[in-house]
């Protein structure tokens, strides 16, 4: 079984996000980039499938700050081959990202055939589409998203994919392989890998580079961000300020006043 995993880096929203001076994007100087959370789960799901069925996991990631760390970490976790997609201008859209992935998958030796292509279901910056359905459409493969578990049958020709629905309900779907699945969460949390193992991967492993081809200009499909600003809430909580103990006592008084303590 050969599984391709598609990764992209996104801004860490735990950090404060600053708007660039032109007001149309984030200030890159202040951004910390991390692996998109659901992509991390897609990688974990691929590694779980490899452990279960054998085979090979190939990881493709789009060039971005900190991407080498993400790829070496993927190698340390058990990915067999890691490929960095390079040569694109910064600020590419999700449609372009899917185009880069698709062209590299088609052009680079050894990436096809793949039984499964896994990627995160949705990234926090997927403004103009989602990677998984776009890649699926390009290769005319079946697509399903919001996946939280995958079981491949003995023949390797079909998979049972668990899709999440509202209210904790899940659906088990039969999917013919090869297929593209958008992973919401792996069956297990992404594994921890010791720093020493990542360093070992850095020393012994190699990140391959794949140059992106020029995409056909789909300018008329483009979406343009005209303005970006912090989401200032229309209504705001009453903020309790002061030293921690004082704030907690004030809140406790409020709760007591409402009969909640």
């Amino acid at each position: 079984m050969h599984i391709l995993v598609l990764l992209k880096m996104v801004p860490d929203v735990v950090e404060d996000l600053e708007i660039a001076s032109d007001g149309k994007g984030l200030d890159l100087d202040y951004l910390r980039m991390i692996l998109s959370e659901s992509d991390d789960h897609a990688l974990e799901q691929a590694l779980l499938l490899k452990e279960r069925h054998g085979g090979k996991v190939t990881v493709l990631a789009l060039d971005a700050p900190e991407v080498d760390d993400a790829l070496f970490t993927a190698a340390a976790k058990g990915a067999d081959r890691v490929v960095k997609v390079v040569g694109m201008d910064a600020g590419f859209t999700t449609r372009q990202a899917a185009g880069f992935f698709s062209q590299v998958i088609a052009d680079q030796a050894g990436l096809l055939p793949a039984d499964l292509i896994l990627t995160g279901v949705q990234a926090i910056d997927d403004l103009d589409g989602l990677v998984a359905p776009l890649v699926a459409d390009e290769f005319r493969m079946p697509y399903l998203g919001i996946i939280t578990g995958i079981m491949v049958d003995a023949s390797g020709k079909t998979a049972r994919a668990i899709k999440e629905f509202p209210s904790g309900v899940r659906g088990e779907f039969e999917v013919k392989l090869p297929a593209v699945l958008g992973v919401q969460a792996a069956e297990k949390p992404p594994r921890y890998v010791p720093v020493a193992k990542v360093r070992a991967a850095m020393k012994s492993g190699k990140i391959e580079s794949a140059e992106v081809p020029t995409l056909v200009d789909g300018g008329w499909l483009a979406v343009n961000i005209m303005e970006m600003k912090r989401n200032e809430p229309a209504s705001q909580a009453e903020m309790l300020e002061g030293p921690t103990e004082q704030v907690c006592n004030t809140l406790c008084g409020i709760l007591a006043g409402r009969g909640l303590v």
Binding site: V121, Q122, L144, V169, F173, C252, I254, L255
Partner: protein, 333 residues
């Protein structure tokens, strides 16, 4: 349908989703402002009677096919492209939920039109279409324009839950229904085998009067005992947002939000939860919401009644101690 505002109606297990009504509410506003028709599109199998629930629209297009019983993205997109073959809409609103996620992207690519996700509002002025979007987990608002070289062109807008109140788009009445035949290929069809109902948790969170919810800001599974102590002091239970559940720190039965439970406790304490729309959807109607977050700009403060900007791990024990002290000092009945 040319130039009309269209809404993809979500049906799942015999019901129209709440987000569909929100989409109809927004679609109604946009259609009325532009003096155009609002059309709801319902795909399904033997569910024509549900068209009555879409009375906020001027008309309904009903697409019936055995392969449309579930809203599988590629099959549903194939059907929608056929629906729009003769008359392209100005806007197609598609809910961004775990029922129909992916359909909008596929319709956009197959029709060769722009897609804009995370929308909470849209304005159309002449040829210009501006969508107002919430990105980066709710932290950033963006005004986004769909590229239009000449003349108005269709756009697919992925609608974020909560754009409007569902009640504004809820209307039950007979509306003109057009039955639209489609031809669908089941060669690569994805088939539902079964639904798996959620396992009952050890606690029924929907009946708890106080809930202490944790998010990524709690940093480590080892800090959960501090959270449990606060919940115990409040006489409530611990629950969590999606990242905490995905990390395996709490079971799925404790998840609040779009994919988990919707709760309405008297008190909801959100600790280290940013307030992404997916989470807010499940707790926004709590009686009193208190949020603690280190980021003063966290969207959770827009739904909270009281907020504390600070370190969750510092606040937690202090709040528990304050509550315990007050309880100890209170005269016993």
């Amino acid at each position: 349908m040319t130039g009309s505002i269209c809404v993809l109606a979500e049906q799942w297990r015999g019901r129209i989703s709440e987000v569909t009504y929100e989409a109809l509410a927004l679609g109604r506003e946009v259609a009325d402002r532009g003096g155009v028709q609002l059309t709801a599109i319902l795909t399904g199998c033997n569910c024509r009677e549900m068209t009555r629930m879409l009375g906020a629209a001027d008309s309904v297009v009903y697409v019936d096919h055995a392969l449309l019983a579930e809203m599988v993205p590629q099959t549903c997109a194939d059907a929608l492209v056929q629906v729009f073959a003769g008359a392209r809409p100005r806007v197609l609103l598609v809910p961004l939920t775990n029922i129909s996620l992916g359909i909008g992207t596929l319709v956009g690519i197959r029709m060769g039109v722009p897609v804009i996700n995370f929308c909470k509002d849209v304005t159309i002025s002449g040829d210009r279409l501006e969508a107002h979007c919430v990105m980066y987990g709710g932290k950033i608002e963006a005004t986004v324009e769909a590229g239009a070289p000449s003349g108005p062109q269709p756009a697919v807008l992925g609608l974020w839950p909560g754009a409007r109140t569902a009640d504004k788009g809820r209307a039950e009445r007979d509306v003109p229904v057009t039955d639209m035949p489609v031809v669908l290929d089941d060669a690569r069809a994805i088939r539902l085998c079964r639904y798996i109902e959620p396992e009952a948790g050890d606690v029924d969170l929907t009946k708890e009067e106080a809930l202490v919810a944790v998010g990524r800001g709690v940093q480590d599974r080892g800090n959960l005992p501090l959270v449990e102590e606060l919940a115990k002091a409040l006489g409530g239970a611990v629950c969590g947002s999606r990242p905490v559940i995905d990390q395996g720190w709490l079971p799925l039965s404790r998840q609040i939000g779009k994919s988990g439970l919707t709760v309405k406790p008297k008190l909801y304490v959100a600790l280290g939860i940013s307030g992404a729309p997916e989470h807010v959807e499940g707790m926004k109607d709590a009686g009193l919401i208190v949020a603690v977050n280190s980021d003063a700009h966290a969207p959770i403060f827009s739904v909270a009644h009281y907020g504390i900007v600070g370190d969750v791990l510092e606040t937690l024990p202090a709040l528990t101690a304050a509550i315990e002290a007050r309880k100890a000092a209170a005269p016993h009945a």
